[in-house]
């Protein structure tokens, strides 16, 4: 078959991009998987457990990461972004920019000696800035490719490259493989591809503009993704639930739904995954501490995925999670930094308060930060919320022939939907490639 000579470019190395890559790679297409971060894995790598089975997220993701890495048909381009796309005949000519890693990817053995010696501490974005990493770092423990990268904004040597003397350089001194290369530069290169799948994912809404919730003002009000890292065994607190104000384990937690969603001031759409991920958080909290009491404040409880409603019922019946129908209007704190919630109980229509020790804001999914840039390079049509637009009857096809899309860049969705979508986009791409030149 001639398929193996045809190329597909997949932009975004989260679970959707990974699934699409694996499907097309298995069909013998040449796959270029483009990831802007130092490692593939995306949001799913940041999650602790997955619902409704409470499977450890990284444990089910890691084999897929390795499958991608070891697949003879898949090439991972990490720290890489697309800069321009030109259609030449039936092919897409894509200009890519590889950011300098300052570490030789083929030489680094991930021994970690450089990390131990690096004197610079930087907020760790993978851990939602809840702990520090070094200026030379592995993006996350199970990350692939499993090699270090240097953050040029913070590295003492790289910040002072223009000075005459050579600053620091400790990593270079201790590296047993001579893998550190301060002279690396960003690199522009071209790839020709026959089809493109966009899987650039989404971001979490930053709730600080909703000032009545006090996010960033109150230490004991954090977001869902921050909590996800907190309860993760490999996270900043090694999986221990702690209040950021006094490092004490909380005994009561409130989860507030529809933060930055179903709200015309922010995003009017439903973020679709929060009711169930908060349910998961409440279940896991109880598993961490059997004495802990969780409250979930919600408007409508939306648990439509396979076995999701049963999961919610289990939370109510077996984990004593209290679901309170009511939208929280404001959060204040007492002298011990305990959040006090002001809300209307929609069963009794009374204004009530509830004091808890920790608040988790179920913050909405929004289009990813550089979605604008990528979608405008590709000339993709967006919907009114700036997600990539598709149609009812062609749910993974964009307005451009030969470009498909999957995952949360199409709108908020959970992991199974992203995986279905990804295989779906792979199918449409395979169909398109088969028909090319025929």
């Amino acid at each position: 078959m001639e398929e193996h000579t045809k190329r597909v470019m997949i932009i975004g190395g989260g679970i959707a991009g990974i699934q699409a890559s694996l499907d097309l790679g298995d069909m013998d297409y040449q796959v270029d998987l483009i990831e802007q971060k130092p490692c593939i894995g995306g949001r799913m790598a940041q999650l602790d457990k997955t619902l409704p089975t409470n499977d450890c997220s990284i444990c089910i993701l890691a084999p897929k990461l390795s499958d991608c890495f070891r697949h003879p048909q898949i090439k991972i381009h990490s720290l890489t972004q697309i800069e321009a796309v030109k259609k030449i005949g039936k092919k897409f000519d894509v200009t890519l920019k590889r950011q300098a890693r300052f570490v030789d990817e083929s030489a680094c053995i991930n021994c970690g000696q450089c990390v131990a010696k690096c004197p610079v501490k930087v907020d760790d974005q993978f851990d939602m800035e809840m702990r520090k990493r070094k200026a030379i770092y592995l993006y996350y423990l199970q990350g692939i490719p499993a090699v270090m990268a240097i953050d040029k904004e913070y590295c003492l040597r790289l910040k002072n490259l223009d000075k005459n003397k050579e600053v620091c350089g400790l990593c270079q001194k201790v590296c047993p493989k001579d893998a550190i290369d301060f002279m690396q530069t960003d690199e522009l290169y071209h790839l020709e591809t026959d089809a493109i799948i966009v899987a650039i994912g989404s971001n979490q809404y930053d709730p600080s503009p909703l000032h009545l919730y006090g996010y960033k003002r109150y230490k004991n009000v954090i977001t869902g993704l921050e909590y996800e890292r907190m309860i993760s065994a490999s996270g900043p607190t090694s999986g221990h639930i702690r209040r950021l104000s006094d490092n004490k384990p909380p005994k009561t937690i409130a989860f507030i739904q529809c933060v930055g969603s179903r709200d015309i001031r922010t995003n009017s759409y439903c973020s679709s995954i929060c009711c169930t991920y908060s349910t998961k958080h409440a279940i896991l909290s109880k598993e961490h501490d059997p004495e802990l009491q969780s409250y979930i404040f919600y408007i409508d409880l939306r648990a439509g995925g396979k076995n999701f409603q049963k999961y919610v019922d289990r939370a109510k019946n077996e984990y004593n999670v209290k679901y309170i129908r009511g939208k929280v209007a404001e959060i204040k704190i007492d002298e011990n930094d305990n959040p006090i919630l002001y809300y209307e109980d929609l069963n009794t229509f009374e204004i009530k308060t509830k004091k808890v020790e920790l608040v988790i804001l179920a913050s909405a999914m929004i289009p990813t930060k550089n979605s604008d840039k990528i979608t405008s390079i590709l000339d993709l049509e967006l919907d009114e919320f700036n997600f990539i637009k598709t149609n009812l009857e062609t749910p993974v096809s964009t307005n451009i022939s030969g470009i498909f899309a999957c995952g949360t860049c199409l709108g908020p969705m959970d992991i199974p939907h992203s995986v279905v979508n990804a295989s779906g986009a792979a199918a449409k791409a395979a169909e398109y490639l088969y028909k090319l030149n025929r």
Binding site: I15, C270, N307, F308, D383, L392, E393, A427, E431
Partner: protein
Amino acid sequence: MKMKKKEETRIGVFICHCGTNIGGILDVPSLTEYAKTLDNVVFTQRNLYTCSETGLSAIKKGIKENNLNRVVVAACTPRTHEPLFQGICKEMGLNPYFFEFVNIREQCSWVHQMDHEKATSKARDLIRMGVARASLLEALEKHQIDVEPSALVIGGGISGMSAAEILANQGFQTIIVEKKPQLGGQLLTLHKLFPNNMDPEQILRKRDEILSNPLIKVYTSSEISSIEGYIGNFDIKIQSTEKEKGEESKQERSVKVGAIIVATGSDVLKPEGYYNYDGKRVITQKELEELLKQDQFTYQKIVMIQCVGSRIPERPYCSTICCMTAMKNARIIKKNNPETEIFILNRDIYTSGTYQEEFYRDTRKEGIIFSRYDEAHPPEVTDHSVIYYNFSQNGNIEIECDLVVLSTPLIPYPESESLSKMLKVPIDEYGFFLEAHIKLRPVDFSNDGIFVCGTCRWPGNIPESISQGYAAASRASRILKKGKFSVEGGTAWIDQDKCIQCEVCLKKCNYKAISRDEDDKVVVTAVLCKGCGACATTCPEHAIVMRHFTDNQIESQIAALLEGTTSD
């Protein structure tokens, strides 16, 4: 590869912390030290995550530098990770069956979280047993089988048609079997589609493309009567009812395909016994669509009730499409006659995602009234009204109406059960097909070569059914494109010197893998054998050897366990 007889057994044991999943409970350093003391173990190492690229390179390095010929990993579960580690062994030139997996997460750190010491002690036992078995492992080969480049799609609704379209457009012969007289499934019963009131005919145009596609063969009024064979080589019998000049006749055909996609769809619950349902004044959304389709709608005051027969103890799931369906129909009625009063009584409105929530907002703007009812005290339907408890009034409210519309869930067809038996794939407690992994393999069955899509898997809307159809086609294409498939080597083998031809095993085998060959001997067809061992346990002469789980391998594990209990 075969081992030379006198080659020394050199075992490497790799113990995984799995972050804190294992390392937080078990004493991994002491387990590593312990493993060193076991027979034939020449190398041990512990890793934070053995499955990470770092961990995998460590195994490779360990094999190379220590000349290992057996690898034991004590970590999580073979269900997810065995192929990965076997692959690493293979990469390093070792037969993948020289790999042994010891599960110290599910079987130790997870189930014995509260007793670190005993959990560690159990892990010691399991590792000792694993090492004992590893010493006796034998090299095996996977079987390669040829794959027929064609597929069968069972069900000709939107999901099945979407799957068939993709397969045929990649050059694969595809057969659709539909039990109804025409393709289209539930789309045929719908009036308009949400959110843009598209005419279902617009999507059903796909039907014409399918019927004219030379690579797609459609059998309508047909059902599957038997399925034999295995991935790459399924033998299917299709029974069709054919009408000619008013005479009905049955015809049976045999076809051979390489992959199967199950897309049998779902039914809508008929709410017999709920809310005085009579199909006249109290009807379902589906019956309402029928009225709207025929332009026979004359009612003035309508109450719709959501979650009828769903999200209740006997059927706890949310059917996900009923809220949108109710709103779609309400808006159409309101548009045709703005004077109509419509109430939608609900428990929670399910409008998940971007456009659905917008649809909900618009529905309310149009004056359709939403009110919440109490699941503990469901509404009461009288002959001229609906009475329900209203939370904001803290009391009952009566709404006069001339029509009550019940929103009932999608439910599995009862035929799913017999089909699941023919396919040897599981269904769940409700009768929906059960996929291989709810998160990461949503359209695969655990049986190779069979896939699932659409609402026979779980309730869903049209875009979801279409993408699932595509997804199932993608998963099937991987196999069809390759033309070859390799199956596990851990299968049963019958020792003809011991076999007394009693045929007990033949009857016991669930996979029809045991049969008589042309010489009248009882033999196992390796590609059909799943290695379950049911035959071996029933054989009165112990003539059946389970490769990779031989008697002496298992006995060595038992011996290793007992050996430990005396010293502990």
